[in-house]
């Protein structure tokens, strides 16, 4: 029984990590149709930002302050990744809105460049981020341990989702964003400043990648190739949820998290991966537009 509960928790926590990684893509890919292969490198930038901030705290601030660096790291990672995203949008992505598949290829180039740049700046070996003291340990309930880090990530994801929903569905800015992504020309004919909306949207999507990177420092390695190990999963989640469907993305991430932890429990990590991906393929055969797929009236 307790193993079921802890596995369920593990699944949910893996799901929220996946969701955090996919949330940014849900915007840049789901809404804007940009297949951003450099999304992983934006995640990596978020992680390195956290690392740098940690070093700054260690070097320049009193020891007592160290515990707070991680709180500051979250918005800072968002900002750094968002700025990088903004730069990418202005220089690369902007020319590719009409050519989604080409965006994949161009951003692939960006990802190669960013990886090597990170290697040149931070060195090839992994760096370590030490979690603040208050994130160590876990909540022990009836003999089961729920690590604080995992609980923290779940909470962080909930907060991100809440803010994103608010932005997308309750603000005119979110409405403009949806309009521009649906029909750029027409939106501009109505007076929407498409360039600004595009940049904002891409920056926000990238910013979420930064947050994902920040929280990944709690559980994994921080190195130049950090992002590449998550990128495929992230795309699968967006696709599985249904392109442009935030709710779908959330379901998909949780489903994937829980599914793979339980399959892994009864098989091995390798076969869990095989089975989960095979299930995704089969599921999409059955529901080709994803969990929350859109029915469109248009012919094509």
């Amino acid at each position: 029984m307790s193993i079921i509960v802890t596995q369920l928790f593990n699944g949910v926590s893996l799901g929220s990590i996946l969701l955090l990684i996919a949330l940014g893509l849900a915007i840049t890919f789901g809404l804007m149709n940009i297949i951003n292969m450099a999304h992983g490198e934006l995640i990596m930038m978020g992680a390195y930002t956290t690392y740098v901030l940690q070093q700054v705290f260690i070097q320049y601030l009193p020891k007592a302050a160290f515990g707070y660096y991680f709180i500051l790291a979250i918005p800072l990672s968002f900002l750094v990744a968002a700025l990088l995203g903004l730069l990418m949008e202005k220089t690369v992505v902007r020319f590719l809105y009409e050519r989604p598949l080409d965006s994949l290829l161009a951003t692939w180039g960006v990802s190669l460049i960013l990886q090597q740049v990170a290697r040149s700046i931070f060195g090839a070996p992994n760096v370590a981020v030490v979690a603040p003291e208050w994130l160590n340990g876990g909540l022990t309930l009836t003999g089961m341990t729920f690590p604080y880090k995992r609980l923290f990530i779940v909470a962080l994801v909930l907060l991100c989702i809440f803010l994103l929903f608010l932005y997308l569905y309750k603000t005119p800015s979110g409405r403009r964003m949806k309009a521009v992504t649906l029909n750029r020309d027409m939106a501009s004919c109505l007076g929407v400043s498409t360039r600004r909306v595009d940049s904002t949207a891409f920056a926000i999507g990238s910013g979420f990648a930064g947050i994902a990177g920040c929280s990944l420092t709690l559980i994994g390695s921080i190195g130049p190739t950090l992002g590449s190990s998550y990128i495929v999963d992230a795309f699968m989640i967006v696709i599985l949820g249904g392109i442009g469907k935030l709710k779908g993305t959330i379901f998909a991430a949780l489903m994937l998290g829980v599914l793979s932890t339980f399959v892994e429990l009864s098989t091995s990590a390798t076969f869990a991966k095989v089975i989960v991906f095979a299930l995704i393929i089969i599921f999409l055969q059955w529901k080709p537009t994803g969990l929350v797929g859109a029915k469109v009236r248009a012919l094509d």
Partner: protein
């Protein structure tokens, strides 16, 4: 209101429009006629800024507009109903209409739809929360018109707005156009194939042929023979 002179525009390497002159007086409806493929849509797109103008000028309230982006034109008071309707298919009717108000200054944008719109197009009120893409062709066309006039533009560009709309609503739209053009001093460019529809509401007309203006005048002093010459196939 809008003065186009010597305009040259087209796609990539092919120039469609040559030497086009056009004047939209304040508060008047101007009909633009022409056979298929003569460049009517191209002209409207050039006016809205969707395709680049290679030569000539577009003056709007004494300012040169040739190089402005579409959104700037929209904010300055130009609105556009495209030939393909171009509804935001994934957004609700309400959201589509709210987007129509983007052209207004922030202070004048409201969060609700002016009742006037629903008086003209009751079907939109009935379906206010349905997705734009689910509407029937004619319903979409009505939505497109409503979306354009909701911002009270100074210049309204209509590319075949009656296409696919049921007869009684066509009449209604004609009435609405006449009404708003005079009441709100809106200048309207009405691209139409249907001569009767133009004659029913326009004050002046232009005829475009092979990318050039070949004829213009007042609707009440039209010469049937000339018309036939330029419009017949």
């Amino acid at each position: 209101m809008l003065l186009v002179s010597n305009l040259q525009a087209g796609y990539d390497e092919t120039m469609i429009l040559q030497n086009v002159h056009l004047e939209l007086p304040k508060g008047k409806i101007v009909g633009l006629l022409g056979r298929n493929g003569v460049g009517k849509t191209t002209l409207v797109k050039a006016l809205m800024g969707l395709i680049p103008v290679t030569n000539g000028s577009i003056r709007f309230e004494e300012n040169e507009w040739k190089k402005e982006r579409p959104e700037a034109r929209a904010r300055a008071g130009m609105a556009y109903v495209p030939q393909g309707r171009e509804i935001f298919s994934d957004l609700s009717i309400k959201e589509n209409l709210l987007l129509g108000m983007e052209a207004l200054p922030k202070s004048q944008r409201s969060t609700s739809i002016p009742q006037e719109i629903f008086q003209w197009f009751p079907v939109l009120e009935e379906m206010i929360d349905r997705k734009g893409g689910d509407l029937s062709g004619g319903q979409q066309q009505q939505l497109a018109i409503a979306r354009a006039i909701i911002s009270n533009p100074k210049v309204l560009l209509l590319d075949e707005p009656m296409e696919g709309i049921q007869p009684n609503i066509v009449q209604l739209i004609q009435d609405v156009l006449v009404k708003i053009s005079s009441e709100k001093e809106m200048s309207i460019l009405l691209v139409e194939h249907n001569l009767d529809a133009v004659l029913a509401c326009a004050d002046q007309f232009y005829i475009l042929d092979k990318g050039q203006m070949v004829m213009n005048g007042n609707c009440n002093e039209i010469n049937e023979d000339d018309l036939q010459r330029h419009l017949a196939v």
